[in-house]
Point group: C2
Chain length 352, copies 2
Amino acid sequence: MADVHRDRRDRLRARCSAQGIDAALVTRPVNVRWLTGSEAARALLVTRDAASAVLPEGAVPEEGVEPLPAAAGVDPAALLAATAGTATLGVEEHDLTVARHREVTAATGARLVDLGSAVERLREVKDEDEISYLRIAGEMGDQALGELLESILVGRSERHIALELERRMIDHGADGAAFPVRVGAGDHSGLPAHRSGDRRVEDGDFVTVALGGCYRGYRTSATRTFVVGLAPAEWQIELHRQVFEAQRAAREHLVAGATPDDAARAARRVLDAAGQLGEVDGEGVGLEIAEAPHLGLQELGKLDNRVPVTVAVGVHLPGRGGVRIEDTLVVRPSEDGGPELLTITTKELLAL
Amino acid sequence: MADVHRDRRDRLRARCSAQGIDAALVTRPVNVRWLTGSEAARALLVTRDAASAVLPEGAVPEEGVEPLPAAAGVDPAALLAATAGTATLGVEEHDLTVARHREVTAATGARLVDLGSAVERLREVKDEDEISYLRIAGEMGDQALGELLESILVGRSERHIALELERRMIDHGADGAAFPVRVGAGDHSGLPAHRSGDRRVEDGDFVTVALGGCYRGYRTSATRTFVVGLAPAEWQIELHRQVFEAQRAAREHLVAGATPDDAARAARRVLDAAGQLGEVDGEGVGLEIAEAPHLGLQELGKLDNRVPVTVAVGVHLPGRGGVRIEDTLVVRPSEDGGPELLTITTKELLAL
């Protein structure tokens, strides 16, 4: 793995070099982790010919990374020594606080310039190892959801169900949940950002569950909506079909070379034809549950091969509830069969 | 509650005024919450005669706080209007990123100066409502731990026990765990920052459990060490007694007017007399699990009435395990009976 991280640091070096930046001080935790493989490292300094990480006491850096003392953030003397000869030091101005910026300037004497989202952009296209971690994270969510569907939901609170799903993902080997599991019953179903609460599941409810596993730091997200009771109502069957078809239309457009706008527009056309308002959205996933690219109307650029994204369609009818369906997929070229689905659990309308 | 928050904002205004600061832009989430009561607000602007919060879509501010649009952080035009007449704007340089600092300067045209930890210092002494939330948070941890002690631990993994404790605290009404519950069995017992893992509890193990409830955002922490099996070994009884006495000595010094150094020194004396190395530490608690003041040797200043702190003593013997005992208490004057213990669970050496 040390080679993978060294290669990533080399790509950052190349980017810095092209901008006349001598060295980079990376502080955003998720970026530090991607460049070092270490969850514990608090900052990473990448110079032309070395890399040094600020580690907590007792932690050992991997091969090719020198340790820097962690005493109260970055030790000024150590940082000065490590940046010797650095005239221009790139920093992450979207992460570094004003107070730390001042400390680093004082400690190094270098001119600080903004790296911007250079590391985030490097992280956007994944390697096959990263995709395999996402595949495992997706499976963990699928397994937990599959087990839940075999149990009785009526009478249980949203929060109770959410906690059970988190525990089940951990039992299957997940680091944890990718985000707090969201369960919305009845009027709460179909909402994009509902927080699981005390509402108990009743017969006839739509229940929306959004969950994802986290494996080696990589996170997926899936959303499904079910009906509780023996037979769904006519309006429930119809609404579910509309959302399912809109989300499928979006999914089919996640091929290398398409724009995020294509996928959003395809889903919107299906909703419009059905006369439904609703939300169509999606985000890149990886070490974060929402990273670049953003899926939506007017989002141009091109989707690259090996970019994992979520794609969600939801319709909520106030007072009645709604349907939301979301998957995590990896963008692949259409000649390779198009997008790879990472969240396999059935999207059929199950009556539980 | 609106009065409580208005009063807190008035105390911040007085502090700003004394430093020649016209208005304050508070961005650190925990500080925003303390000044507004809102967990959702992303930033708070406190001017001489008004307060306005940046809220997510759909959120309603409490009485006395005006909403500011949330579009992509702070909307420049809205911020300019809200800060009209502000020559000097205080910001939290330990929280505000360099990128946001530049945006705020551009949007307001004001001179930005550092508020430092002004809000953190105001938060240090709690009111009786805050203490009552901490009392409830402590009880939730106690209840979860009490229930655990009635179950069989042998054969279960640290992580499994930790998850059960988190779920039980939530069942008792906690917002969640104050921090990820730490369970350390066998060689992992007695360590201050062990992360619960796959180690299974065995007969004869010391097991250290660190947990705390979170209620309305307020967090406590308690640590207990037990022995698994019918009879503890002689060394286990002896080590437990030493740590217990050292921690009790520290606790007794948490009276208004004493210094944090007094408490640390008292515990250290007991450990020294027993010939044990070990850790003595403690932190303020409230909306954060580690906030001001810091307990330790050479920490001077005076402990104020109504300051809640943790106090922990731990000894770890490599290869054998150890004992760690920690409580959350509120500093009170000695004429009122001294410190108030918020984490009541027995500190006796139970054999489970």
